[in-house]
């Protein structure tokens, strides 16, 4: 059991899974229909590996199109089922909720007074194509001999973010971060939290101005008042809730990770919070956001800090403008971006902007007004 007694519910899409059929979210009881014909695909090159998988670039022989093969290492069946269920839920949706007419009253489904106060005056209230920004699952294959499960995905011509991001103009950043928010808004609207948002999981084909959110291996279906495992996300992108062991978190975790990504892009500091351990990760956050707000947050949720934090020093909040320097000023030197980052990197997950609110933030105004032209930029 979690040490905190204070319950929390998502501000938006609170009961989305309850409105769906049990088969949508009850992944433990689904039977996966594996294709056994892995002669349809062939491997070209190894492109990556993770804790849970080996990833290859390959070809689909029938069509000669490039694909990605993700071979899953032996893990619990439940985890495999979860990833596949989530990917099929996201791929199979015939009418994506975020592509429909926006209904504000439905959107802010959590009617509790103490969360309603966090509603921002701005929101993106138009339908969008965020569902296109989720990596597409083509097939699931199991080799009849080795019985290794493999997922077949669409391929994106990605460039390593450490090479690509430094080349981005201010407008490129606004464009791609807006695309990422669309993807997040879509998966949240489908009752799914990604829980591992980081640059490595955001594939960008800069020639085609195409963004895909990948790796749904840690994603989970959201149910209000459910307690989740805090051992998710990658260290630099872990929200405070994970580090203080507050388990009743929700979609807003993804907005923290998004915020750290955005801050690292505009301040050109990679990663933005560079912790050397999970404990140190929280220290790095408190050193920026300050001890005062941290304590308010702990009191609000009645969180008792784990022992290893007991001798943590007191830090005064570091104002965001102090991260602005001559080399990043062209990206960070405007009040809008500072305000956006400030509204994302909040200790209290309920206080963070939702994806739709972030999309409505003034910093994205040029994107919303279609001022981003793909012809302006030279690509090398």
């Amino acid at each position: 059991m979690m040490k905190s007694k204070v319950w929390s519910e998502a501000r938006v899409y609170t009961n989305i899974n309850q409105q769906r059929d049990k088969s949508y979210w009850d992944y433990e009881n689904t039977t996966i229909e594996w294709s056994t014909n892995n002669k349809d695909y062939e491997i070209e090159a190894k492109v990556g590996r993770g804790k849970y998988s080996e990833v290859f670039q390959g070809v689909e022989l029938k069509t000669q199109r490039k694909i990605v093969i993700k071979m899953l290492k032996p893990v619990k069946k439940k985890k495999i089922k979860r990833e596949i269920k989530i990917l099929t839920n996201l791929s199979d949706e015939q009418s994506p909720p975020t592509a429909l007419q926006f209904n504000k009253d439905e959107y802010y489904s959590n009617k509790k007074e103490f969360v309603l106060k966090f509603i921002r005056p701005y929101i993106y209230d138009l339908p969008h194509n965020g569902h296109e920004n989720i990596v597409q699952l083509f097939n699931i294959v199991k080799d009849p001999i080795s019985r290794t499960p493999a997922l077949i995905f669409e391929q994106v011509d990605n460039i390593d973010f450490r090479v690509l991001y430094p080349k981005f103009t201010d407008m490129d950043m606004r464009y791609y971060m807006f695309e990422l928010l669309k993807a997040l808004d879509y998966c949240h609207s489908m009752g799914i939290m990604h829980r591992d948002v980081k640059p490595h999981n955001v594939m960008i084909d800069h020639k085609q101005r195409k963004l895909r959110l990948i790796d749904w291996g840690l994603a989970e279906l959201y149910h209000a008042n459910m307690e989740y495992n805090v051992r998710v996300a990658s260290r630099f992108f872990k929200g405070p809730e994970l580090l203080v062991d507050y388990r009743m978190y929700d979609y807003s975790l993804d907005l923290w990770s998004f915020g750290t990504m955005l801050a690292s892009m505009v301040f050109q500091k990679e990663p933005f919070f560079h912790g050397t351990s999970n404990t140190d990760q929280l220290v790095k956050i408190v050193r920026v956001l300050g001890s005062e707000d941290f304590e308010k947050y702990l009191i609000k949720y009645e969180i008792t800090l784990p022992r290893e934090f007991h001798d943590m020093d007191q830090y005064i909040r570091r104002p965001w403008h102090r991260f602005v320097n001559d080399s990043n000023r062209h990206l960070s030197g405007n009040d809008d971006i500072i305000d956006l980052i400030d509204n994302l990197l909040k200790y209290d997950h309920q206080e963070r902007l939702t994806a739709k609110e972030a999309m409505g933030h003034p910093w994205f105004a040029p994107i919303r007004n279609n001022e981003y032209s793909t012809q302006d930029i030279e690509i090398d």
């Binding site: 062939e42 491997i43 070209e44 080996e54 290859f56 390959g58 001999i145 080795s146 493999a150």
Partner: protein, 242 residues
């Protein structure tokens, strides 16, 4: 170096017997000489067969006599141990060089065929060659350049002998022409070409580059078979077509 000269072995046999082992038999029974066959004495003593070998060793005639055991005991007894050692080494070298010529003669080929049938040169390590017997071959006809290799008539490739004893034998003692000559003489012993190819795979997924090449090769093979059939070639035989 030459630990077991003829003299030592004769001494070992306590000298009681009149029946002294022939030099050639001793040579062939030495460990590591399994690849060699017995060269007829008639062949060795026919000077016609030895043209251009005279300069391979010093005291050519003496060495020949020694090989065919026609050297008088008294001559050997008068020799110093170091001279005897030199004679033994020369004899091995000269016999081996004559061997290279002999094994491409009709009689030599017959003898080597028998050894090939018994797989005395080993079998191909390639899986899809199905334990195909190998043939020894030199990459040079001049001694002192490279060691003997093993040729597989199935995959038509070369291999290093497994045992270091065999791997240190001079390739010139078998020569460049031997396997070709043997297979031309006995075409019925040319195996059918193996068609299967290995394609590496990872958890059931073939590697594209290798699989693609394999498909292309198979396509070319089928095309070639079709073409040969239309011009009336008989492909039922071994070793391709004539």
């Amino acid at each position: 170096m030459s630990s077991g000269s003829k003299m030592d072995i004769v001494d070992d046999e306590s000298g009681s017997s009149d029946c002294v082992d022939l030099w050639i038999d001793l040579f062939l029974s030495r460990k590591g000489n399994e690849y060699f066959c017995e060269v007829d004495v008639d062949y060795i003593t026919d000077r016609f067969n030895l043209i251009n070998l005279q300069k391979a060793v010093s005291k050519f005639s003496l060495v020949i006599q020694y090989i065919v055991d026609e050297l008088d005991e008294s001559v050997l007894e008068a020799m110093s141990p170091s001279k005897l050692e030199q004679l033994e080494a020369d004899a091995r070298k000269l016999y081996s060089l004559i061997h290279a010529r002999y094994i491409i003669t009709v009689k030599g080929l017959q003898k080597m065929l028998a050894k090939y049938k018994d797989a005395e040169f080993g079998r191909c390590p390639r899986i899809y060659c199905n334990f195909q017997p190998l043939l020894p071959v030199g990459l040079h006809d001049i001694p002192g350049i490279d060691s003997v290799k093993l040729y597989c008539p199935s995959c038509e490739d070369l291999y290093n002998p497994k045992s270091p004893r065999h791997a240190s034998i001079d390739g010139a003692y078998f020569g460049k022409s031997f396997p070709g000559m043997l297979l031309q003489t006995f075409p019925e012993f040319v195996p059918k070409h193996p068609i299967r190819r290995y394609i590496p795979s990872i958890f059931g997924f073939d590697l594209h580059k290798q699989a693609q090449l394999s498909r292309w090769q198979e396509l070319q093979r089928l095309k070639s078979v079709k073409r040969l059939e239309t011009i009336g070639c008989d492909l039922s035989g071994n070793g391709g077509f004539k």
